[in-house]
Structure formats: C-alpha cells, structure tokens
C-alpha cells in the first residue's frame, strides 16, 4: 500500500506546482490603449496614412510613435481615480523629417489633441489584479494658437475603451 501512495503523492505535488497562474500572461487583456485610425477626409471610408508621424504625450520627452508613416496608432492613457473624468493631451507631428532636411520651403506640422474619458476599474485575475477601462471617451482638436491644422475632423466611434480589437477614434485628414 505504501508503495502505491508515495508515487501518487509525488504526482499530485508535481501537477499542482506546474500551475503558472501567478504571472500575468501577456495575452491577457488588461488596461487597453486608445486606438486611433486615420482616414481620408475626402473619402471617409478610405484609410489614409500620415506621413512621418511622431506622437508624444504632452509634457513627456519620450516619443510614443517616432517618424512612422502609418494609418493607426496606439496611445497609452494616463489615469488616476476611478470615476473621475480626466484628459490626456497628445502632440501629433506629421512630416517629422521636414524639420531636419534643411529645406525652408517645407516644415513639419504639429497638432494637439485632447482625449477625455472616465476610468473604471475591473477585476481581471489573481495574477493581473485590476485593469482600467475608459468610458465616455471624447476627442477635441486644439485649434487655438494653431493656424495650420492638418486634422480636419475627429470622431469617437467607440466611446468605451475596453479592448484593443477595433479603433476607438477616427481622425480625418
């Protein structure tokens, strides 16, 4: 009897020690990014890339997107207390390379957008704890002090940011 019990005990311990649910897996949907897609203002169903786009969060030196020609971006949202509406400002600069090409006839163009939303905390799992999703998302293009705005229009297509499966905001340019 003893001979049968010992391997059984060992097998049980191995089986339970293999559990890896104490590490938050990368594939788990946690706090999402804001997804913005760029469309052609003349043909609003047609995605249109932005040439040499650089995105930074206002007040931060690091770039979120660096001189990339793309038709969509993922932006990290800052947040504090649950239920308190908060805004994040992003600087979107297109034609970044014009700053350094030494040609005076062309220049980069920076527009500032303000995204406001209300964080809501949701329990995920033992390993990941809580995530934040964002409700009531709104976008505003700051046009004051900017006489050359390249973002013609911006629309919130998904007011609740809870995953990264589809765009939340469309920008037309």
């Amino acid at each position: 009897m003893k001979n049968k019990l010992i391997p059984l005990i060992i097998i049980l311990f191995i089986a339970f020690n293999c559990e890896r649910d104490d590490i938050c897996a990368e594939a788990t949907a946690t706090t999402p990014h804001l997804i913005i897609r760029f469309y052609d203002v003349n043909d609003t169903d047609e995605p249109k890339t932005v040439r040499q786009l650089t995105v930074t969060g206002q007040g931060v030196d690091d770039e979120i997107v660096s001189s990339t020609t793309t038709d969509s971006i993922l932006l990290p949202l800052r947040f504090q207390n649950e239920g308190e509406t908060i805004s994040t400002f992003f600087e979107l600069k297109k034609d970044t390379d014009y700053d350094t090409n030494g040609n005076d006839s062309n220049a980069s163009n920076t527009d500032v957008i303000e995204v406001s939303y209300t964080p809501e905390f949701i329990y995920v799992s033992r390993a990941c704890g809580y995530k934040s999703i964002f409700a009531g998302t709104e976008i505003d293009v700051i046009e004051a002090d900017d006489d050359d705005v390249w973002i013609i229009n911006a629309l919130t297509v998904n007011t609740t940011i809870e995953d990264e499966k589809a765009a939340h905001i469309n920008i037309y340019h």
Partner: protein, 235 residues
C-alpha cells in the same frame, strides 16, 4: 498446497474446530474518540507573517476499518502580489469518513487510510491595497487606489479526498500525515472579484475548481470500549 489443505480439512473436520480455537489470537482493539490538532497550522502561523490558522480534528471508530471523522478550523491568509494585497479570513468545518486500508500486525492500531469529506467555509475577503495593472507605463504613473474594499458573507462548499497515515507513537498518542485533494462544489463569490483563498480549501486556481492541502496531525485517543480482534495464528 491449497488442495492439500482442503483435503486435510475434509478428513479431519472435527479436529479442525479445536485447532481454530487453539490457533487464534485475540487482541483487544481500542474503540473511542481521537482528538487532535493540525500541527502544521500553528507552525506556519509562527513562521509565516501572512498566515494564522488553527485546526482541531477528531475521529470516532465505528467498525474495524471505518471511522467517522471531522475537522474544525479557522484561518487568516494574506495574499500579496505586485498588484493585489488581499486578506481572507474565516472558519471551516469538514465532516466525513476515513477507511483504514492497512492490515495491522498483531495488536498494532496504525492507519493508512483514504477518506472522504464534505467541507464548508464562511469567510470574508478584504482588498487592502491594489495597483491597477497597466503594462504601458509611458506616463510613469502607476496608480494604487487608496480605498480598501471589503467583501463579506462569502461561503464555499467542497468535497475532499484524503490519503494519509496515522501511527501510534506512544500509548494512545498518534501522529499522522495527510494529503487532501479538494474539488469546489459551489461558492458564493463577490460579483466584481473572486475568492482567492478559502479557509479550509486553501488557495484557488484559475484553471479549475481543484485545490490541494496537507496536514500534520497529532492526536490523542480516548478509549471508550474495547472489541476483540481475532487473528489466525500462523505456524
């Protein structure tokens, strides 16, 4: 050899009867209530700052092999990860049977047993502290809300399979080890949270309804009556 015994018994059936009484040893077996504690819990309480627990257990011998058994305990466990700090606190009760699979020699009364239990626990969980999981720390603003959340009136029911040993080390004093495999039958969990640790069931797993536990028991038998155990004497 079997044939020879059969033929032998057929021929001398009268002789066989007298032989039985001569060659059978009779041992007095103690029946009674065994009371004990799970030593691993006070030891862990002493060593582990995040744990406090105590369990008393008892069994009552019904037949030669069958025991009525139960445990009553209380536990407080603090789970601390990078993103959560949760205290579970409550008490539990388990009841069931143990079946001794071990054929004892002579007058020994040790056990290698398998057991079944139904367990029930009532408890609370307190979220002392938490940090919102945000893998993109571009803004460098990890946020930990200052509120604590309390989830009261939680409960769970589970079934348990036990294997273990109990050995009599001194007269009527037993030490034992056991391993418990648990299956959650039902639980009352908060709607916006989950039961991370259930007193008596131990920690839960994301991947299923199973749990595991072990015990290191020391117990004392209070003999109530004795019963004969007949053992055929071997030549």
């Amino acid at each position: 050899m079997l044939c020879s015994i059969t033929s032998f018994s057929q021929n001398t059936s009268e002789q066989e009867d007298s032989k039985t009484s001569n060659d059978t040893l009779v041992f007095k077996q103690k029946y009674g209530l065994r009371l004990g504690i799970d030593l691993s819990k006070p030891v862990r309480s002493f060593l582990d700052d995040d744990y406090t627990g105590f369990e008393i257990n008892a069994d009552y011998r019904l037949t030669k092999r069958l025991y009525l058994a139960g445990e009553l305990g209380t536990e407080e466990n603090n789970l601390v990860t990078d993103y959560l700090d949760v205290t579970s606190k409550g008490s539990y009760f388990k009841a069931g049977v143990d079946y001794n699979m071990y054929l004892n020699w002579l007058d020994m009364e040790n056990m290698i047993y398998g057991g079944l239990r139904a367990g029930v626990s009532t408890f609370s969980q307190t979220l002392n502290n938490y940090t919102i999981y945000n893998p993109d720390q571009y803004w460098n603003e990890p946020f930990s809300p200052s509120d604590t959340k309390e989830f009261d009136g939680l409960s769970a029911i589970w079934a348990e399979l036990i294997i273990g040993i109990k050995a009599e080390t001194l007269n009527n004093l037993y030490v034992g080890l056991n391993l418990q495999l648990k299956g959650l039958v039902s639980e009352n969990a908060p709607s916006d949270f989950e039961n991370l640790y259930i007193p008596g069931f131990n920690r839960t797993y994301d991947s299923g309804r199973f749990g595991i536990g072990f015990g290191y028991n020391i117990s004392y038998l209070i003999p109530i009556y004795k019963k004969d155990k007949k053992v055929a004497k071997e030549d």
